[in-house]
Amino acid sequence: MASVCLKDIVKVYGSDIAVRGINLDIPDRSFAVFVGPSGCGKSTTLRMIAGLENISHGELQVDGEVVNDLPSRDRGVAMVFQSYALYPHMTVRQNLEFSLKLEKLDHSEIERRIDEAVTVLELHPFLDRKPSQLSGGQRQRVAMGRAIVREPRVFLFDEPLSNLDAKLRNQMRVEIKRLQRRLQVTTIYVTHDQIEAMTLADFIVVMRGGNIEQTGTPIDIFEAPANLFVAGFIGSPRMNLLAGTAVEIDGQLCFSNDDFTVPLPSERFADVLSAGQEITVGFRPEDIVPEQHGIEPTRSVSVTGAVEFSEMLGNETLLFFNINQTEIISRMHQPRIVESGETLNFLFNVDRIHVFDTQSGNSVLSDQVTVG
């Protein structure tokens, strides 16, 4: 049980800077998820916390204690690797015992811990098998068991589910969440997968290029992305973005470009925007509703568009159309085949608009959202 605190953490490989001064507070018992594009420094940060990489600069605290120079075994952290990294020449039991025997715990304590982990993870039938005799999901559970038996202060996961098929991944994801709830251990989890991030996290840390772009609860990040990058990165399909200018029409602040004008709710934007400012607005696909095909928003702007093509996903249909050159995606909550060329009225939900300053890329409401 411990909080983890990163202060100005930097990682340099030769002359390449992989992590550029990260500040982060992970409270006790919470579940933090790092997301970001490939190469943004997620694993590097995790490995520094694990003690597998030196920290080039900055301070890492676990429970208020600086652990920069502690070897990983003394940090009270346990890690589940993407490849599982099980010891192939040992049985499942020996894999689980390995750390406990090195710690020289007494026999009864070792038995107790293994028994507990094995029960939670339902590993009983496999104790005497070698890792090569297990399925992917079973190996994954052994890898988690190896972390659990150590009773660490912090769990670290580096894309633990990426080697599993979709169905098993969903199942293990739920299992991980349940496990963390039950054990109440501070957890840091790295993933590419948005669904994992949204469902597992108490708070999400969005990284890019060695920096933190935004930290916040899943709902924060989704509803109030701090900048264009986060807006584009979180949410699938991605948010529709249109660049233009803020203008005043009849005393009403509006977004406008050559093809499209939309009023900006003054209760949210009157104080933060001025006419003439270059802005980019964003609408999530579910906030663009084809007329008569879903719950229509109370305040909306209607745009007529010819559907270029559609994707019927079973429980919903994605509609692709263009506003001038920009491709817009609308999510229709009705599964139905839509023919290409069919013309529909699309209702853009004005109350759910996201507005960013084009130049800086930051949300114009950025002082109202948490930024890392």
């Binding site: 597998l52 890690m79 690797f81 990294a85 390995f98 750390s99 090569s132 190896r146």
Partner: protein, 293 residues
Amino acid sequence: MSNTMDGIDFAAIVDKERASKQRNWLALTAAVIISAVWVVPFYYLAISIFKTTEEYSLNHPLSLPSGLAPVVENAVTAWTHAKMGAGLWNSALYGFLGAGIAVFIAALAAYGLSRIDFKRKNLWFMLIFSGTIFPLQMYLIPLFFFYQKVGILNTHFGMVLFYSAICIPFPVLVLRNYMNGIPRDMDEAARMDGASEFTIFRRIVLPNCWGPITATFLLQFTWIWNDLLFSTVLANRAEVRSIMNALQVFQGSYSSTGPNVVLTAAVIASAPSIMMFMLLRKHFMEGMRVSGS
């Protein structure tokens, strides 16, 4: 959609396949002839040990022996004449200790080269590896004078020292490549589990290297066992003489013992390394496979 395959003449395809198989008999005949040539020396060896010296000199060398009994006498003569007991003991000592120490040290070096980050790693590796690119005979004369000066000529210690040293580079090459193929995640997991560097080596990396370790051990053991040159020069006294060296007594006294005795001695001398191979065959084949687990 229909599943028929109209227009395909299966009979013709079958005939063509068969014809291409039949052409193989030529290759087969060639193979049989070549193997026969290759087998002759072994045949010669196998029949000669069952002949008496007289029988050997009177008949054609490749003729079959008249009985199996003479082999016992041949063996006894060879054993006493060449003091083969001592020779076998010495060679076993050199083989097990020399190859064992060499492979163990090589494994340590390979671990360092594949796992620990230090400067000029490649230079160190090339330095060790350079031990295998020069002809070994080059070391003979300097080594002789050095051993003489230090006083370890004609000692067990000197021989084990030499064999261990000369047998290190090759296993380093093999084991380093093999260890590079063992995922680093595994050592990292062990490190987080609280293992020290040596524990990782002994408990995690070594157990996954048994294949190449037995393979290189076997190769080095056989080389030491069969070495004649260095054992002749560095250890020529009866107490420290290796088995191959011991066989040389037959060179000077050819008249008193016939080729049948010499060949019997050769069979006895090579039996142990063949037995070693049989015993470790499984691991050896594993070690010859390219990839790790």
